[in-house]
């Protein structure tokens, strides 16, 4: 199974690299393919960060256009295309979120509650992507090692940009615990990604 997932992952990376090369040659069909490939993950992701359908759509729009215009800025040695897309999406989404900071703060508590149940989702976004099906399943299994609190802290921090101090205040947990839990959660994430990449 692990070998199959690894093969899938390598295949995905090769196809992504090929799509980027075609995009660099102004092949719009390649951009469409990249959209089809990742919209199922990126749209829920940007929606989660921004909390607004309109903003999420705007972020996705900006990210795909960024890829279209600056695909040559992707450096394969620094990570996968997927990780690059997620990083770009997060950056754009956080920018939008900060622009509407006041509103986001009011919604942050509700967002935290939503994120707590995110790991139990019945329809993971990645399953909309045929190429990522097995890979996503494996990732979910590996992330089961994350405790609920670790996952919640990671999500609040990653999706909403909450600082550790904010998290400590909000969740009424000592700052030291927050730091330790987050560090451990990141280590588990890294282990999962490293195992997938082996």
């Amino acid at each position: 199974m692990q070998r199959n997932v690894l093969a899938q992952r390598q295949q995905i990376d090769r196809e992504d690299a090929d799509l980027l090369k075609r995009i660099q040659r102004s092949d719009q069909r390649a951009l469409g393919s990249l959209y089809d490939r990742y919209v199922g993950v990126l749209y829920p992701f940007t929606l989660r960060v921004t909390g607004s359908n309109e903003a999420a759509e705007g972020v996705l729009h900006d990210v795909l256009l960024h890829v279209w215009e600056k695909s040559s800025s992707y450096a394969p040695q620094n990570g996968s295309v997927y990780a690059w897309l997620v990083a770009l999406s997060r950056m754009k989404a956080v920018e939008k979120m900060r622009a509407a900071n006041q509103k986001r703060k009011q919604e942050s508590e509700g967002g935290a509650q939503r994120s707590a149940s995110a790991a139990d989702t019945k329809q993971p976004a990645a399953e909309t992507i045929v190429a990522l099906k097995g890979y996503a399943e494996e990732v979910r299994n590996s992330l089961k090692s994350l405790s609920k609190l670790e996952l919640r802290l990671l999500e609040l921090s990653y999706y909403e940009g909450q600082s550790q101090s904010d998290l400590a205040r909000m969740l009424r947990i000592p700052l030291g615990t927050i730091k330790a839990k987050m560090r451990r959660g990141i280590q588990k994430l890294r282990l999962s990604s490293a195992e997938e990449a082996k």
Partner: protein, 272 residues
């Protein structure tokens, strides 16, 4: 920018807050400068963190993207052009502001279409210009024809007068070829001057008709002629007193603004 190994190690601690966007602008700028210096440890650490955090979105609940989003993005992309390939540092790749380029895409067929459009506009402008010129020329021709018709009417009216007079004018200089006649009706003082053989007046000059009475010249009117052709010039209210006072008519070449007394040689002369 070169960085000491121990400093690089300290910077390694900034990778997580950097990926999670928790560095303040000053620290972030410093850290990105550090990445630009080429710290392989930090770049490797960041790469691993980006891969790790990219797993989190895989856990999210499926959401249906808005219908038409794909088409909107592709439509927008069709008006943009990818930038030429270039090498970019990892830090810039990851965290540089995403600023949509404003340079529009202009493939060859758009240049061609634009060129054809410009040519069509130029052709249309030329056509309109020519049409306007033609219209102006035709309007001038119509005005000339109307003037000639009016002149012919005068000529006919003068000839049809009960007591019209015909005063022949001849060139003063022998062999000049100048000739003319002055038809006029002394009763209503209207007349028509017919001239032939006179060259076109030089720049700033015109011809002038005079009448003589008691050996004095009185200006009647100025006129121009076309090259070598006989012309009819209408004259209204010829300033004469009693018809018996007029002794002769004469034509001279004068300045454009006209003269009160002949300044040039008499070219044509005719006595009653």
């Amino acid at each position: 920018m070169t960085t000491k190994p121990e400093e690089r190690h300290e910077q390694l601690e900034l990778c997580i807050p950097y990926v999670f966007g928790r560095l303040n602008p000053g620290n972030r700028k410093q850290f990105e400068a550090h990445l630009t210096s080429g710290c392989e440890k930090c770049i490797h650490e960041l790469s691993g963190l980006y891969e790790a955090t990219a797993l989190l979105p895989l856990l999210l609940r499926q959401e249906t993207p808005p219908s038409g989003l794909r088409q909107r993005i592709l439509s927008r992309a069709s008006s943009k052009k990818p930038e030429p390939q270039r090498v970019e540092r990892p830090s810039a790749q990851r965290e540089s502001p995403v600023t949509p380029a404003t340079r529009p895409e202009f493939p060859w067929y758009r240049y061609a279409a634009t060129a054809v459009g410009i040519l069509m506009i130029l052709a249309l402008a030329y056509f309109v210009y020519e049409l306007a010129g033609t219209t102006t020329r035709q309007q001038k021709q119509i005005a000339d024809l109307e003037a000639r018709l009016l002149q012919n009417d005068d000529v006919l009216a003068a000839f049809g007068a009960h007591q019209f007079e015909d005063v022949p004018l001849t060139g003063v200089e022998p062999g000049s070829g100048f000739s003319g006649r002055f038809f006029w009706d002394p009763s209503n003082r209207n007349g028509v001057l017919q001239i032939g053989g006179l060259p076109v007046a030089a720049e700033g000059k015109c011809y002038q008709l005079w009448m003589m009475k008691q050996n004095k010249y009185f200006a009647v009117m100025q006129f121009d002629v076309d090259s070598g052709q006989a012309v009819f010039v209408r004259m209204l209210s010829v300033p004469v007193g009693e018809k018996g006072e007029i002794e002769a008519f004469a034509v001279t070449l004068e300045p454009k603004e006209g003269s009160t007394q002949p300044s040039g040689a008499i070219l044509l002369r005719g006595a009653r």
